[in-house]
Amino acid sequence: MYPADYRYTKDHEWIKVEGPVGTIGITDYAQSELGDVVFAELPKLGVTMKAGESFGTIESVKAVSEIFTPVSGEITEINSKLVDTPEIINKDPHGSAWLVKIRLSDPKEVSALMDAAAYETYIAAQAKEH
C-alpha cells in the first residue's frame, strides 16, 4: 500500500525524491480520513518554503486540511490535473494525484522522515485512538 521508496510525515504527506527534486502528495490514509475531495489550493511556481510550512489546502465535502511540505526548497511544478479533477486525490493519492514538485535545498532533511514501515506503524496507532 505505502511505496517503499517514499518517505512520510506525521501530517500524512509523502515525498518521493529523485535526484535534486522531490514529488509531494498526501497519503492514502489522509485521503480516506478527508473523504470526497472537492478542491485543492496549491502554491505558485517558484515559491520557496521551509520544511513544515503550509503550502496549500485540500478541501473535502466535510473538512478543510492544510498541507505541509516535508522538506525545504523551491516549488518547481504543480499538478495541473488537480484544478479540474481534484477527486483523483481519492483514487490515486500515491500516483497521478501528486500535488507539487520541489527542488530540495537541504537533501539531508529527507532522512528525518518516516519510511513506509514506520508510517504504517504510526497510522495503525492513530486508527486505534479513533
Binding site: 473523504g35 470526497d36 478542491f39 489550493e41
Partner: protein, 345 residues
C-alpha cells in the same frame, strides 16, 4: 464513527457525494434513531403544546405533522421540532437528540395545565427513507397505501409486520418517509428496507450526507442557524411564528420584534471564489465584519459552494455582494434566494 448527542453514528458509508446523489436521484436510508421523542397526553395536551411552541398546533388535524419551534420566554429557540397530532388528547413531538433532556425539562417546567409529559426517546427507533424512489421502496413492505399520505401527514400501519408510525416527512428536501417503531425491531427493519431498496439503487446514508442535503434544501440545524439566541423571525421562520394564535412563550418579545424589525437576518450565499466558506467563518460587507457563516460547504447536487449566514437586514437582498473570511483572506460570495435546491416534483 462520531459521537453525536451521545450516539455513535457514522459520518458516511460509501462517501458523502455518492450518498447525496443517491437521495437526490434514487433513495437513501438513514438511521435517525438518535432523534428524541416527547409525548404529551391528556385533555390539556393541546394547551401545553400551544403554550411552549410558536406554530399553531390547533390547526392540525389528526394524522398531520407540523414544523415548529420550542420557545424560551425570550422568543428564542430551545429547539426546533415536529409536532404530530395523534389524537385530540395525544401529541408526539420529535426533537433533536442533543436537546431531548433539556426540551423535556423545559416542557415539564412550563406545564401548568396538568398535561402528561413523557420523555419517550428510548421507546422509539426511527428510520428515514428519502428520495424520489422512497415511496415505491417502502410500499413493498407495507399494506398501507402510501400514495394518499400527503407531505407532513402520517398514519399507523405495519412495515414488514412491525407496528410503525409512518410519516411523510424528512430532512433532505426530497420526498420520503420517516418511520417510528419499537427499537427491538431496528436491525430487522434496517435489513428489510435495505433489501427492498436494492433494486432501486438505495444506499445507506450517514450524518455527512444528512447535513449536505439539508443545507442544499436550506433547512435549519439547531446549534447552527438557530439556538437560544435566535428568534424565528431572524431565522426566516416567520411562517412558523403564529402571533395571532393566542398567548405562548415569548410571544410578546416576538410581537415587539415584528413591530420594530429584526437586527439581523438569515440569508443564503453562493461562493464566487473557488474556496469554501464553512461553519463559523466571518462574513464581511464593505470590509466590515457583518456576521458569521452558520453552515457552509459544498452543495454536491448543485455543484456550487453554498452557505447560510446572519447579516444586517439592510444588506440582505439577493444579489448583494459579500465576502467570506477564509484563512485570513476575503473570498467573494453573493447572497442568493433560499432554498438553494427545490425538488422538481
Amino acid at each position: 464513527m462520531v459521537n453525536f448527542g451521545g450516539w455513535d453514528m457514522p459520518v458516511e458509508y460509501s462517501g458523502i457525494l455518492s450518498e447525496h446523489e443517491a437521495v437526490r436521484t434514487r433513495a437513501g436510508l438513514f438511521d435517525v434513531s438518535h432523534m428524541g421523542e416527547i409525548e404529551v397526553r391528556g385533555h390539556s395536551a393541546l394547551d401545553l403544546v400551544q403554550w411552549v411552541t410558536c406554530n399553531n398546533a390547533a390547526k392540525l388535524v389528526v394524522g398531520q405533522a407540523q414544523y415548529s419551534g420550542l420557545m424560551t420566554e425570550r422568543g428564542t429557540f430551545v429547539d426546533d421540532l415536529l409536532v404530530h397530532k395523534i389524537s385530540d388528547t395525544h401529541y408526539l413531538l420529535c426533537v433533536n437528540a442533543s436537546n431531548q433532556d433539556r426540551d423535556f425539562d423545559h416542557i415539564v417546567s412550563k406545564n401548568e395545565v396538568g398535561a402528561e409529559v413523557e420523555n419517550a426517546g428510548p421507546r422509539y427507533s426511527q428510520l428515514a427513507v428519502q428520495g424520489p424512489r422512497a415511496k415505491e421502496i417502502l410500499q413493498k413492505l407495507t399494506p398501507v397505501v402510501l400514495d394518499p399520505i400527503r407531505y407532513y401527514h402520517f398514519t399507523f400501519g405495519k412495515v414488514s409486520g412491525v407496528d410503525c408510525l409512518i410519516a411523510r416527512t424528512g430532512y433532505t428536501g426530497e420526498d420520503g418517509f420517516e418511520i417510528y417503531f419499537d427499537p427491538q425491531f431496528s436491525e430487522k427493519l434496517w435489513g428489510e428496507l435495505m433489501q427492498a431498496g436494492e433494486a432501486f439503487g438505495m444506499i445507506p446514508c450517514g450524518l455527512g450526507a444528512r447535513n449536505t442535503l439539508r443545507l442544499e434544501a436550506a433547512m435549519c440545524l439547531y446549534g447552527h442557524e438557530i439556538d437560544e439566541t435566535t428568534t424565528p423571525l431572524e431565522a426566516g421562520l416567520g411562517w412558523i411564528c403564529k402571533l395571532e394564535k393566542g398567548r405562548f412563550l415569548g410571544c410578546d418579545v416576538l410581537a415587539a420584534q415584528k413591530q420594530s424589525g429584526i437586527g439581523r437576518k438569515l440569508v443564503g450565499f453562493e461562493m464566487i471564489d473557488k474556496r469554501i466558506g464553512r461553519d463559523g467563518y466571518p462574513v464581511q460587507i464593505d470590509g466590515r465584519d457583518a456576521g458569521c457563516v452558520t453552515s457552509g460547504g459544498p452543495a454536491p447536487f448543485l455543484k456550487k459552494n453554498i452557505g447560510m449566514a446572519y447579516v444586517p437586514p439592510e444588506s440582505s437582498a439577493a444579489g448583494s455582494s459579500i465576502e467570506i473570511g477564509i484563512r485570513g483572506q476575503a473570498a467573494a460570495a453573493r447572497i442568493v434566494a433560499l432554498p438553494f435546491y427545490k425538488r422538481p416534483h
